[in-house]
């Protein structure tokens, strides 16, 4: 009998590069204030959002994904065929199956890479980075493409005052690969399904099918409950992520939280007691909340505006529908 072989991969991993794509249309607060009986001032004060980027009808979530992935792969200096796995975190794939990842892998020439989607909402990208890190260190893949991609404008209700007006469209991509030094710290992740109803779709597909006039399912949230969890519970997770990584807040170059709401970002940073010098990603101001895409988009922008931050340490944390969360300290590419 032949002995069974178990794979073994690289000792360490890192993020090689990022890519970004935002919806092709800037949507101002004035553009959406009418149906929610609101105003530019009301929206800015409660969310910090000045405008969100949304895709026009002809731009699908796959188009955003291809743009972001292509940039990340080019910047990584690898060939698409070097990619062993394509992971897409999304809640807005227009079909329940097949996956967005399989289509993306084919379109960018990363075949026959393993390809699958993750449903972890706004934490999806951090789940993807955790998986990429594990896949590479176990030898299941040498390079992994992780993409957070959303066309949330497909699942918004214009009259909803709880979340719709925050949402934008975009995709952020990362190439993860082997490294001589530690580039991805331990992942702190988890879930709290007791708050399953706090944020998510307002009805099932079956209910929508049975009541055609009621329209498609759209996103809703219990804002105050989510705010409390996102700040005070997630602050504990973020502190633990620093601790298990052996990193102090003073050693961080950047803090890149999920771009849920500027009020959450500001209060979160306050609870963490971050030193002044730590750069805080605030991409939500002009991109909106893009769920799984928000962290890579925000990190991509932060690096474009602060190229000197490259090589420094960033704490990234995603949190959202499930409820689910994931955090890790990474070396900025």
């Amino acid at each position: 009998m032949s002995p069974l072989v178990q794979s073994q991969g690289a000792a360490f991993t890192k993020i090689y590069s990022l890519g970004a794509a935002r919806g092709d249309t800037a949507v101002s607060n004035d553009d959406i204030a009418g149906p929610i009986d609101s105003s530019d001032e009301w929206i800015r004060q409660r969310t910090g959002v000045i405008e969100r980027k949304r895709s026009s009808a002809g731009e699908g979530v796959i188009d955003l994904s291809v743009r972001a992935a292509t940039e990340a792969i080019e910047r990584a200096g690898i060939a698409p065929s070097d990619i062993g796995a394509v992971i897409v975190a999304t809640i807005s794939n227009p079909v329940q199956t097949p996956s967005l990842a399989a289509l993306l892998a084919d379109k960018i020439g990363a075949t026959p890479a393993a390809a699958y989607d993750i449903s972890a909402a706004c934490a999806g990208y951090t789940y993807g980075i955790a998986q990429a890190d594990a896949l590479i260190r176990s030898g299941a893949a040498r390079y992994v493409l992780v993409v957070g991609a959303e066309k949330l404008s497909d699942v918004v209700e214009p009259t909803d005052r709880s979340i719709s007006f925050l949402l934008g469209d975009g995709a952020g991509a990362a190439v993860v690969g082997p490294s001589d030094t530690i580039g991805i710290g331990p992942t702190l992740w988890g879930s709290d399904g007791s708050k399953w109803d706090a944020v998510g779709m307002n009805k099932t597909l079956k209910e929508a099918f049975d009541d055609r006039e009621g329209g498609f399912p759209t996103l809703r949230q219990d804002g105050p409950s989510v705010f409390r969890w996102a700040v005070w519970e997630m602050a504990k997770v973020a502190k633990n992520a620093l601790e298990v990584s052996g990193v102090t807040a003073e050693e961080l170059t950047a803090f890149v939280p999920h771009q849920a709401n500027m009020r959450i970002i500001d209060e979160f940073a306050k609870q963490l007691g971050l030193p002044e010098k730590v750069l805080i990603a605030r991409d939500i101001e002009t991109t909106g909340n893009t769920s799984a895409a928000s962290i890579p988009l925000a990190m991509h922008r932060l690096l474009a505006e602060h190229p000197e931050a490259s090589g420094g340490l960033a704490l990234q944390i995603g949190f959202g529908a499930g409820l689910v969360f994931g955090a890790q300290v990474v070396t900025l590419p």
């Binding site: 804002g223 105050p224 409950s225 705010f227 409390r228 005070w232 009020r263 209060e267």
Partner: protein, 82 residues
């Protein structure tokens, strides 16, 4: 040690001032957080979490929705201390 109603009101008013800049003497028992003091839901939650720490009580999310006026919040916190 449990705080008196007057102490809870004074402490709560301080938290409201910290979060919103509203003068403490405006925070009186009959005032509605949203209608009179114009406090939005996110600021309200920040005040609630601060109040939990200050008075060492638990104010569940479902309960927050019932605390319409300052007086209702003061009453809840005072009883919860017991």
């Amino acid at each position: 040690m449990a705080h008196t109603t007057e102490e809870v009101l004074a402490g709560l008013a301080e938290l409201v001032t910290d979060e919103t800049g509203i003068a403490a003497d405006q925070v009186t028992l009959e005032k509605s957080f949203t209608d009179d003091l114009d406090i939005d839901s996110i600021s309200m939650m920040t005040i609630v979490v601060s109040a939990e720490e200050k008075f060492d009580v638990k104010i569940p999310d479902d309960e927050v929705k019932n605390l319409t006026t300052v007086g209702e919040a003061v009453e809840f916190i005072t009883k919860a201390q017991a």
